[in-house]
Amino acid sequence: MIEIKDLQIKYDDFVAINDINFQIEEGEFFTLLGPSGCGKTTTLRAIAGFNKPSKGSINVKGKNITNTPIEKRGLGMIFQSYALFPTMSVYNNIAYGLKIEKKSKSDIHERVLELAELVELNESQLEKNVSDLSGGQQQRVAIARALAKRPNIVLFDEPLSNLDAKLRKQLRLELKRIQRETGMTAIYVTHDQDEALEISDKIAVFNDGVIEQIGTPREIYDHSSTEFVCKFIGEANYIDRALIEYINQHNEKRQFDATSRHYIREEKIKLWVPENSVAVPIQAKIIDEVFYGTFSTFICEALDTTLRIIVKEDGNDVIDSSKELTVYIEPKDILEYGGD
């Protein structure tokens, strides 16, 4: 449905986006993920028409919209700052796009009420000034406003980053629900990896103006194709050379190049394994323990490598933190990047 071809965006001599390519299918929840300044918002704003590409094209349903005026692209957009018009009521904010389309008053009223129901705003809130609403309510208004014209594609520019953690989690699920109910294609920008993993059908991980990897959340997490993606998504332990050589010596399934860099996710290090497992047992010394309620993190040391291990607090794995323990690493769980 959406195809980005060889897109490049430059600001004077600075290349913000360099030859990126990706495709988004209809109805997909596609997330542009990356750290600050990586170019994800620049890409989104180029799709919206706010940034002019210096090279490449943006196609929607086969039509090149690269030079189409912003207002004629027919996209919806939700901004990080909500960008609600402070001089208008909630109702008029939602109705703004419909008024531009010169819809009849009754049509506008009907659509506004429908959207209010979708985003769970009540009628009394519609009459309020937007500044009288809470952050979460304002974001609901912004969603309703963006959906008012029934756009096929909605762009989300870090829409939840101004909310507190609890509300952010709640609204994430609601966004996903609304996306499913409306069938829209969503392009979502965030730097929050948890958010991206939770709501996306596909993720494009950005770094320094290029895309490092595109894939489903599981692919991105389990098979991070670059060291950057591995380190950026989730938590990963760096495995020192001594430990990797030890693992090479104690398994026959997979041999690693000791000159490469190796990582393992925290939760992939096990405290016990079933019989006949090919996991390599490693003696580790516990240095510290951090209790988080539902789980604990143990910081251990094994053959010059500091390992962080996650242990679920379900009452089964009671660990005496004053003693040494045996941890198990399956070679297949080790991520290997580059060589000398």
Binding site: I70, S81, L84, P86, Y96, V130, S131, L155
Partner: protein, 618 residues
């Protein structure tokens, strides 16, 4: 119409840009005709005689004793004024904001009175108290008949009037600076053993040094360009600005007027450069994230404390007596005014009734209201659009230069610009569609508008910076055109700043005298001209009564405007515009001096709204 060419035009939005191109054309005409050509013509008038380069004007000026004396007088006034204004200014701020002085709230009101009691109104008020027929002069004559009734004239009188008129900038900017001090630094200095004087000398003054430097330069520049005060109370003490006016009125001396205005212009540019450099050095405001407000310091030494209290209240009387007497005497009948007696017996409202019913009296008031009001509205509308173009094309050189051109009235004195218009368009010109400025009614409001442009542009730009750009993006992506977005989204958000600027611009030029003296139409004198004419000692007591009422009305209007801008009106506006919510502040300060408007806030910690009193007109 389904022609491919029309469709292509529609797709590329060219048709919708026609108003924009028309506006650009108008802007280009405005800049060339009213900002660039007049100033070039001033130079040509001086240095290009009979088709060749000539320096004769310089020779004539240097041989004119009157001109040389005026130049020296101006520099003398500027130099001495720099000391007096800053000594008084710093003192009144310290006693109201830094030291614990009894009744400081009352003192503050008195010292801030020059916000509304300024310009010609202030000069007239001082003349009414200290002048030949002044209240104080008459009072003194009863006890000391040998005193010269015309004692309040010349350099000392000009210096006195301007000293107290020009401290408003201190009450705005230096006061902001003091309020922005971090009390912890004062406490730390005390803790390290510093006494009150040491703390003031080593901590407070150095911290406020950039602000003080700016104020020193502003004081100097106000003295250099002084116009109203030398005319009203100067007597034989003539300065550059009144001389420019006088030379302009003689066709044979117009080149001398132009040369004098260039001298003022050069001085103004040099001072502006110095001030900008000073501002660029930054400030020493607190870097603490937990800054504490200044706690008022009680003066430890009882004798010093008593002396400071006495001086504070004496200054309060100097500030307030003319103001109070002007208000009170405006309600006295002619007998009361002529005999300078305040009594219920002489109480009357007939002075006000006379102003409001007599066309000769309310005419100048209406003229000034229309001129300054019209110019204020147009200047703000014009600069909103220019600022929009400038902000949308930040990397475009042409837009950048357009912005610079609109700052020309900042760099050059108003008198030079006025003279440039007179020289350039004293005959019908195709650039003005066959019109000339001589004898035209609109030249004065046009000049007001030109003078309002730099500060208006600067603050509208500031408001644009406070504006959330995502609002514009949101509107565009919802299908709104650029024009519609501007009208429905951007303009309402800018409205509080725009209205404030209209009010401030209106206030600044309501009682204008400097430009009026050059450009007013004889059939439509402004209130500044009327006050000046009525203030002549030769005039009857009726004229004095009219001036008193004019003064009170102008003060009332100014006070009302300040209330709208800085009172409840601005808060409602901020909330409506969404700035309140986003914790952004509307940046309102307009510091209008004879040198133009400048952003003293750069040197200030707390960009609290500050106001202009147009002291340069004294």
């Amino acid at each position: 119409m389904n022609h491919p060419f029309i469709n292509k035009m529609k797709d590329s939005n060219i048709l919708s840009r026609i108003p924009f191109y028309l506006f650009c054309g108008f802007t280009a005409w405005f800049v060339v005709t009213l900002l660039i050509l007049p100033n070039i013509n001033v130079l040509v008038d001086i240095f290009w005689v009979d088709g060749q380069l000539s320096l004769s004007a310089i020779g004539r000026l240097s041989s004119s004793k009157r001109a040389i004396s005026a130049i020296l007088n101006s520099f003398l006034l500027a130099t001495v004024l720099t000391f007096t204004v800053n000594i008084v200014g710093v003192f009144i701020v310290l006693v109201t904001e830094y030291f614990d002085i009894k009744g400081s709230k009352l003192l503050r009101i008195g010292f801030l009175s020059t916000l509304v009691f300024s310009g010609m109104v202030l000069n007239n008020g001082y003349l009414y108290v200290y002048g030949q027929n002044g209240v104080l002069t008459n009072f003194m004559l009863r006890f000391f008949p040998e005193i010269n009734p015309g004692w309040f004239t010349g350099f000392p009188a000009v210096l006195f009037v301007m000293t107290f008129a020009c401290t408003t900038n201190h009450m705005l900017f230096f006061r902001n600076g003091v309020k922005g001090l971090d009390n912890s630094t004062i406490e730390a200095a005390k803790n390290l053993g510093g006494n009150q004087w040491k703390v003031l000398k080593d901590v407070v003054f150095p911290t406020l040094f950039p602000v003080m430097m700016t104020l020193i330069i502003m004081s100097f520049q106000m003295g250099l360009g002084a116009m109203a005060a030398p005319i009203m109370v100067g007597g034989r003490f003539e300065t550059i600005s009144p001389l420019i006016l006088s030379f302009t009125q003689r066709p044979g001396s117009r080149d001398l007027a132009a040369l004098l205005s260039i001298i003022l212009g050069i001085a103004q540019i040099i001072l502006l450069v110095v001030m900008t450099r000073n501002e660029k050095k930054g400030n020493y405001m607190s870097i603490s994230k937990t800054k504490t407000r200044v706690a008022k310091q009680k003066i430890d030494h009882p004798v010093v404390n008593a002396i400071v209290h006495i001086i504070s209240y004496l200054l309060f009387l100097v500030y307030m007596i003319p103001l109070i007497l002007v208000i009170l005497f405006s309600f006295m009948n002619l007998q009361g005014i002529s005999q300078t007696i305040l009594s219920f017996e002489y109480f009357t409202l007939s002075n006000y009734a006379d102003i409001l019913t007599n066309n000769n009296n309310y005419g100048p008031l209406l003229t000034s209201v229309f001129y300054s009001g019209g110019a204020a509205v147009l200047a703000v509308l014009f600069m909103i659009m220019i600022a929009r173009i400038v902000m949308k094309n930040k990397n475009n050189k042409l837009a950048e230069w357009t912005e610079y051109f609109f700052y020309i009235p900042w760099l050059l004195p108003g008198l030079m610009l006025a003279l440039g218009l007179i020289i350039s368009y004293d005959a019908p010109s195709w650039l003005l569609l066959g019109n000339s400025v001589i004898g035209s009614v609109w030249i004065l409001p046009l000049m007001y508008l030109i003078m309002m442009l730099p500060s208006t542009l600067r603050y509208i730009k500031g408001a644009y910076y406070s504006f959330d750009n995502n609002l514009e993006d949101a509107s565009r992506i919802l299908g709104s055109s650029s024009l519609r977005t501007f009208v429905q989204v951007i303009l309402p958000a800018l409205l509080p700043t725009a209205l404030a600027l209209v009010a401030l611009n209106f206030n600044n030029f309501l009682a204008d005298y400097d430009l009026s003296a050059f450009l007013y139409h004889p059939a439509y004198p402004t209130i500044g001209i009327a006050i000046r004419q009525n203030a002549d000692a030769a005039n009857n007591v009726n004229a004095a009564a009219v001036n008193l009422v004019y003064s009170v009305i102008i003060m009332g209007v100014s006070a009302f405007m300040f209330y709208i801008v800085y009172g409840r009106g601005s808060k409602v506006g901020e909330k409506k515009s969404g700035l309140k919510k986003s914790k952004k502040r509307i940046k309102l300060p307009v510091v209008n001096t004879a040198m133009g408007d400048m952003d003293v806030n750069k040197s200030l910690p707390d960009t609290e709204k500050t106001i202009n009193t147009n002291n340069g007109k004294n």
